[in-house]
Symmetry: C2
Subunit: 147 residues, 2 copies
Amino acid sequence: MSERISIGQVAERTGLSISAIRFYETQGLVHPARNAGGQRRYLRSDIRRLSFVLIAQQLGFSMKDIHECLASLPDERTPTKADWAKISRGFRRELDARIAMMQRMRERLDGCIGCGCLSLKNCTLYNPEDRAWRRGAGPRYLLGDPD
Amino acid sequence: MSERISIGQVAERTGLSISAIRFYETQGLVHPARNAGGQRRYLRSDIRRLSFVLIAQQLGFSMKDIHECLASLPDERTPTKADWAKISRGFRRELDARIAMMQRMRERLDGCIGCGCLSLKNCTLYNPEDRAWRRGAGPRYLLGDPD
DNA sequence: CCTTGACCTAAAGTAAGGTTGAGGTATTAG
DNA sequence: CTAATACCTCAACCTTACTTTAGGTCAAGG
């Protein structure tokens, strides 16, 4: 009946693996306390926090996005309903923007590849609204620009 | 005025880097011929093929998805309008499915995090339709399941 | 012929998002 | 008290999607 719960319990309740939870800590997404023996002790509210990470991750947000998103939540105090509602609004805006972008892409696809033209100079599909695909090394950024 | 064009020209016309084009070849997405000196010579239609890769990639499709998608295109013959239209239909279906999934997610977000409940046992957000997040090592699959 | 720029291969490096393994310490049930 | 779990750290490895580097070759102009 302790206030603080172990990493194994958090893993079970969130569906995340223990290694992922520890990794998220290195990324600054959770900040568990430690007990006398050095083991991690989480707040119950960290379950919600980590579940949010999982959901956001499934929606295609990067660690960095999620980190920024969670930055406004208090670390040691259990977040209130209002704290979460605020996060949720920002998150929803992002999600709306991504959906809208995919819909625009779909329209363009219909008008462009669909008709077989795919002309190189004037096709908007080749130069979509953002230029995420010209940002240096590594995998290209998926769906929109975090900046 | 040759039929076959060099990798540099392809790069310039698609916006892809030369190294990316060569990489896509190792992934089986293009199959350029070689000239007497061993240099790659592309068909003009490969520009369209590679542009399609770029677009699909920006929409969040993986190499594997794109490979399957392009598998029905002829390698040595210039694809016809009908070839492309067929590809386009399958692609659009996938895109529709992804948009629909994000919209469902958004609704759930509104009903769940938005209200502040986020109850663990009965929240559909914790167990969305697919289980892409339980597929072993590597980065988690983004947005839906390729299988 | 010689130089310059475009091209070649193969191997190693990079970034995100983790997992796996080795070797050791805590906690808990009997 | 002791065995079985659960947890700890740190380093190495994995996948995807490329880029970079090193060391050489090809093609075109002067």
